[in-house]
Symmetry: C2
Subunit: 514 residues, 2 copies
């Protein structure tokens, strides 16, 4: 990947307008009583304050939402970070909680580069040391997570954004959640009795899919042998639906139960998109769970120009979508989204009494901890939410479109260039551009074992020299019967055409004598 | 928890002494060649640069270690953060890679508060957007992780710190790793064939253990019914070894296979330590895996005064230890440590060719990705490593000792105080202090159903008022037949005796009229 994220403006020069008057721990007893009283009067809810009844939860909850933010933010944050937050806060109050479609006006006069937002957020988070499992520990972040997940579900195309979801520590864990939830939906007894109490369950995924599906099969007790790999089409990219159906039938004939199909939206190496609609037809026909692993390709949903590549995703039962990949949010920020409500909770809850008490002061359905396989969770939502507020949906769309244009630029530049060979013809569907560099010494040679062996060593050598000289780095790998080739991936919107030009020249410079 | 982390010094006022002369992407072709040549000459290894042979890996690796750091750091980091890093860098070069036992001299003139280090680290990380699965992507962090894990294993008491380990996104996932690795050790075929191909496996854990053991049982295909809960002693805190043995025998008589025992070092509610040595005897006798969940109590290993509470931990097969809890490292920072090498890799590897190529330029055993159930991982090690460099082992020891002294102070202050009742007698083993506040209206009342019902509501009401007034917050929960009680936990070394005094007064102030 090309990486040139810059950070030039200095937030610490902004003025600090800390207000006073909030309750502090070192207030005297008199001051404390006075402030608390006036606070209570202001909100006209002193009766409720001493009550544990959960009636009128909705309105009380809305009130508490504001109270928390006003009360604690200024106590926790250092000045310059606080100023940053104040800007966000104003924008937030001026607009709404929800994620914007157009860029926020304040983002223009502020700093909008790819990492600026996340730095500020992360700084806040490290100061506040929040954990997320209950609403009371991290109320604002719990709400941000809920709203953002709803927005993501709307973009997927689920009616009214209904459904469920959670942020997890990465796409591999999100994919693992999808398998767990699918198992719970069809065989809830596996939770209590284990995998030996259910039929032999089979998962299907492309031979080009991410290895986390196989890892999930191993970890969750299915066994890797029960993760059936699907063939791809002649361009070696997309799953062939007929192959899927043949394998479903074969599994059923053996007495196994086909449970789950993973359709990849953006494979790791080729950036290919499986045909979701056709796979969804088969999942309906055979009553199987459809998961779309959009960890890499999910970002294209933000682009009106490119989202057709995920056509049919609204028919999925679950979706993995990593804003930390194509959308430029720094690692880690991955979401697992589930169409049916209640499954995540049912699948994972253990009802630990010491965390999830039903007699709390607020609506405990906001406690997210029992949905997760984790307990405390790192706050990954804030940087994403704030980035969305600033860039808007349109900003993400421009980001995505620009990266895809750059890939097209790279593809067009090298597809007929001397010394370059494409791994497959045709414009890349995602930003993955896969190619060989053929040094002059190999160019005249016919395709034979010797040439293959020598070509296989070219990419590793060039990459090693890149690492030594520190100019750039691009990954390579073999795939099936293909010898080592370069895989260029662009996800940073700060990349430019001159970066692409540089990359090509650098490969030629380093590889000319091989 | 009491939380008053402050951040007062201003790193941006430090001078920025950025050097020049490193290779930049915008150097001209001539400059590039010159710099690269001189760099190569300096290190006298131009022959190796174009070779893919992996001979002499060790010395080359050591060389590369320095090269990377010099080459890339200044390109990636903004000025003030860079200055901070420069200080660390100097300290690092002046000392060694390893973690110090005494505080670093530079830490005294710098900022040593609980969060300062992590903020700087996190800022660096968010700028560099590193992921960890291969050495080449995050070379320094991979090395830091290895060295720190080794140091932790030494402290556990495993000979020469040998073994394996990885940082995970929290204690629940670390515990899940332990169950996976235990299964792989005894029944490696479960990885390929699934749980239906192995006997019915049984896990044992205390009724007071963290719910993540049960969650692991559900997720990994054992089934919650096969997670057997162990009784505790008369103080309701520690596992009774005789009960464990009886349940092992019972399981074997039913034809099940006892696989795994989790001993908790520091239970979540009571902070109790299971008798590891006695449990280890039974694990040896019945050939079972011994895991110690020291997520909460592991920190006490750093204290010569308190580490005896984990006596026998060196006999464990695996240990969960969360520096993000008792040691004050901000979330997330959790380690799973495994005594036997190779199991983590064997259990989780899928050998994805596009990530883990054997023909790379460096020793690929440094690639950690295939040990993990994740792919990319958030960098959690840097803040911990830097904190250790600054505070030293002695600094952590003082931190731990201080928190335990404060808990003792709290315990001594309330154990005979009017209106307070301890949930169990005797000094707390960890910093958990569990107690009821009994308002004046209930003090004369004999123990009866009405009193229990009313007392059950006291802690929720006081906590709700704390949240409304924003002065402090302390958690409560019921446990078994015990009605809601407060659980005060101290892990922040910035807490003081006056914080404790305040807490007691505040509970009395808010609860006096209930």
């Amino acid at each position: 990947m090309l990486g040139t994220g810059s950070f030039s403006s200095n937030p610490s020069s902004a003025p600090c307008n800390n207000n006073v008057g909030f309750l502090q721990k070192n207030n005297s007893l008199e001051e404390r009583s006075r402030i608390v009283s006036s606070f209570k009067e202001k909100h006209s809810s002193s009766k409720n304050l001493r009550s544990c009844e959960n009636s009128d939860t909705e309105s009380r909850f809305r009130r508490a939402e504001t109270d928390f933010s006003n009360l604690f933010a200024r106590d926790l944050l250092p000045c310059w970070t606080f100023t940053t937050l104040t800007s966000c806060w104003r924008a937030w109050r001026a607009s709404t909680w929800s994620c914007r479609s157009s860029p926020s006006p304040w983002s223009r006069s502020w700093w909008t580069d790819i990492l600026g937002f996340s730095i500020s957020c992360q700084l806040l988070l490290e100061l506040a040391v929040p954990k997320r499992f209950t609403y009371e520990i991290a109320p604002v972040f719990v709400l941000m997570e809920q709203l953002t997940l709803k927005k993501m579900r709307e973009i997927i195309g689920w009616p009214n954004g209904e459904g469920d979801g959670i942020f997890s520590p990465g796409g591999a864990i999100s994919n693992m959640y999808s398998v767990m939830v699918a198992r719970y939906k069809y065989f809830p007894e596996a939770k209590t009795k284990g995998m030996s109490a259910v039929p032999r369950l089979v998962l299907f995924t492309s031979e080009h899919s991410h290895y986390s599906i196989k890892k999930s099969g191993a970890a969750l007790g299915f066994g890797v042998e029960n993760v059936i790999l699907l063939k791809s089409d002649e361009r070696c990219v997309k799953v062939i639906p007929a192959d899927l159906e043949a394998k479903i039938i074969e599994a059923k004939q053996k007495g196994y139960v086909p449970l789950f199909v993973n359709a990849t939206a953006g494979t790791t190496v080729y950036g290919a998109f499986d045909p979701i609609d056709e796979i969804a037809d088969l999942c309906e026909k055979y009553n199987m769970w459809l998961h779309v692993d959009g960890a890499w390709g999910g970002g294209l949903l933000m682009s009106r120009k490119h989202r057709h590549k995920l056509s049919g995703i609204e028919r999925a039962n679950s979706v993995t979508w990593n804003p930390h990949k194509m959308m430029g949010v720094p690692l880690q920020c991955s979401a697992i989204l589930v169409r049916e409500k209640g499954l995540l909770q049912g699948c994972n809850q253990m009802c630990a009494g010491y965390l999830f008490q039903p007699d709390k002061q607020y609506d405990v359905t906001y406690d997210t901890g029992d949905k997760a396989i984790q307990c405390g969770r790192h706050v990954d939502i804030f940087k994403f939410w704030l980035m969305w507020k600033a860039k808007g949906t349109i900003g993400f769309e421009q980001h995505i479109n620009k990266c895809l244009e750059l890939s097209e630029y790279l593809y067009n530049k090298i597809k007929d260039r001397e010394g370059f060979e494409m791994v497959f013809r045709g414009e890349p569907q995602h930003t993955n551009v896969c190619f060989w560099y053929v040094p002059p010494s190999l160019r005249g040679m016919p395709d034979c074992e010797e040439r293959r062996e020598r070509l296989h060593k070219v990419a590793p050598k060039i990459k090693a020299m890149m690492m030594e000289s520190g100019t750039t780095m691009v990954g390579y790998q073999p795939q099936g019967d293909k010898v080592n080739f370069f895989r260029m991936v662009i996800s940073n919107q700060a990349a430019t055409k001159s970066d692409i030009d540089f990359l090509i020249e650098e490969i030629e410079r380093l590889g000319q004598d091989l």
